[in-house]
Symmetry: C2
Subunit: 358 residues, 2 copies
């Protein structure tokens, strides 16, 4: 059976002041009427019903996740006691699935991406699952670059597809960490490079076998999870998890594993990594100027701005290319193109001890 | 005896979103801890006690004014049923004072200016009152221009003082309406031109005599106010006031009256006509960049900004020379130097029917 693991461990800095430590991006309604994690579950459901969906999240977010997703069984919401990047989290999820279905196929999907159409997304995953089951290989999904992005890792594929047909799969030649702009520009000239979407498909058996080889400390540390009685899992994790190395599955496993396959996404994809990236998903604001907004907005001689409000009216007069975000207790103003630097504001709040705004 | 009339009829557009129709600038705490009207009364009190202070205000603001100024007798808070500019308002105030003290000297002062030191302000007024009483002339106070402002009227005075001594008084040669920039630049080159402060000193008798000549329709319309029983004043005004012409005392009387005197202000003065003008009165914001703020603020690589918040944190990242104002229900963002255009936002709100934000 296909199980899905939704990775919902985001820290909620990039969408401050809307996102906070306890309500990171995946728990927000920033695109459409649903939270991103609800949208992710809905999108999957025709392929993987909630009874086979697992959510890996930070302990302090688990109650909110459970409240949003009552259809996902409570024991499938896995709380990480501390963040240890993606490798320990995915090993843990694989072991959790192995407890109930050792022959499962496993999809690993981020909770906070914007994807459409959902049917094409599911078709891609279905094909990946079939290939993973048939070949025993690890499969990942590459996104055709829309530009020389420096915020994503890249995947270099072989020249000829290993599997042909309506959907092609290539051997992965190399995983490339986030490049600088000059390198990104070179990469996107060749069709052999795609963005690393962070979506993976494999059988639990193949993944755990590869993890035993490349992530031995993590597998060794977490192995008892597979056989412990359910009532002891929580205390086991609280004891063991903080001691695990913090490493990404990309760096710790995918770059080292042999025979990894990649296929192209036949759906549109955006990880919406910042307020700037959100602009493309917001409706046009009333009036001229090409502003985009959600929430109450009034512009006069304002152009190219992104306005997002959970309540207060945002009134922009004579400004260009700004990001303005207003919540009940905080307002952010920064130029378009610099919204990732909101991390500096969050860092400043931490330094100033303004924990109520974090 | 000296009576003072404080003109508190502002409409509250220039400091939106802080100011609203029912809480215009004079009812706000934008400079210091007191509302501007409270500061005006305090500043006057050693010269004119609250028992001789009169407030002329819009009907819908009168309750708020009364609540802020319990020391001013309720019958001395004059409610204008509708706004008719300054001439009807000052004639009305003169008649109200004449009811109780026909030989009074009368100071006419705006409610929303920033003035210091208060002692020097009172000294100036005291001298003006003495001259007005001695000569029977209308007296006004000119402000030495700090630059070629186009937002004020100008007063041209004669070459030689009419009254010399520690404080000089000149004949007014001409009142000049708000000039364009080229003309303002020429005017400020000569010491004979000062800004028109909108502050006037005269005896009630001299003013009413001049008003009979230059504002006959207004005096005729309002004359019964002087002798009506107190209980009938309200209904009289509601009937008569809306029919009066809307005209300023500058245009309707001062420009036409003979023998008007002007003296220079020996105090610092600012009418704080916009968010931009407020910057000089706000404390420096924490951190580098020369930002100024009131309320919660956090800047990172922000410079030259003015931030004013009644509650929400204003976080500015990578922006220059912006005015940002945050209240519980609205946020304004505009460039420094353009804050007067907030009127366009207010107009837009009216058009959009968002009356809760007006």
């Amino acid at each position: 059976m296909i199980h899905a693991v939704i990775m919902a461990g985001g820290k909620g800095e990039r969408f401050w002041p809307l996102s906070r430590e306890k309500t990171p991006k995946q728990l927000l309604r920033i695109v459409g009427a649903k939270t991103m994690i609800e949208a992710t579950v809905s999108r999957l459901s025709p392929l993987v019903p909630p009874s086979r969906i697992w959510i890996a999240t930070a302990g302090d977010q688990a109650p909110a996740v459970g409240a949003l997703l009552p259809e996902v069984p409570g024991e499938q919401i896995i709380s990480e006691p501390v963040g240890r990047n993606t490798a320990p989290c995915i090993v843990l999820a694989a072991l959790a699935i192995a407890r109930v279905d050792p022959s499962a196929t496993m999809l690993v999907l981020p909770a906070d991406h914007v994807i459409s159409p959902a049917s094409e997304f599911r078709n891609t995953l279905r094909s990946c699952a079939a290939v993973a089951e048939k070949t025993g290989r690890l499969v990942t999904i590459g996104i055709s670059p829309r530009g020389p992005a420096t915020g994503y890792g890249y995947i270099k594929r072989g020249i000829k597809p290993v599997i042909s047909g309506p959907r092609q799969f290539w051997q992965v030649e190399r995983f490339i960490e986030k490049p600088d702009l000059a390198r990104a520009r070179r990469l996107v000239r060749s069709p052999r490079y795609t963005w690393n979407s962070g979506m993976f498909v494999w059988t639990v058996a193949a993944f755990l076998s590869s993890a035993e080889e490349h992530l031995p400390a993590i597998v060794k540390g977490l192995a008892p999870y597979r056989n412990l009685p359910a009532r002891r899992l929580g205390s086991f994790l609280r004891e063991v998890y903080p001691r695990l190395p913090s490493v990404s599955v990309d760096y710790g496993l995918m770059e080292k594993a042999r025979g990894v396959l990649v296929t192209g996404a036949s759906f549109s994809w955006d990880d919406v990594g910042s307020w700037d990236a959100l602009a493309a998903h917001l409706p046009a604001a009333p009036g001229p100027g090409g502003n985009r907004c959600r929430g109450s907005f009034l512009g006069h001689d304002a152009a190219g701005c992104l306005s997002f409000s959970t309540g207060p009216l945002v009134a922009l007069e004579g400004v260009r290319d700004l990001v303005v975000v207003a919540t009940g207790d905080a307002v952010l103003v920064c130029p378009r193109g610099r919204s990732q630097e909101v991390r500096e504001i969050v860092a400043g709040l931490k330094k100033a001890g303004k924990t109520d705004l974090l």
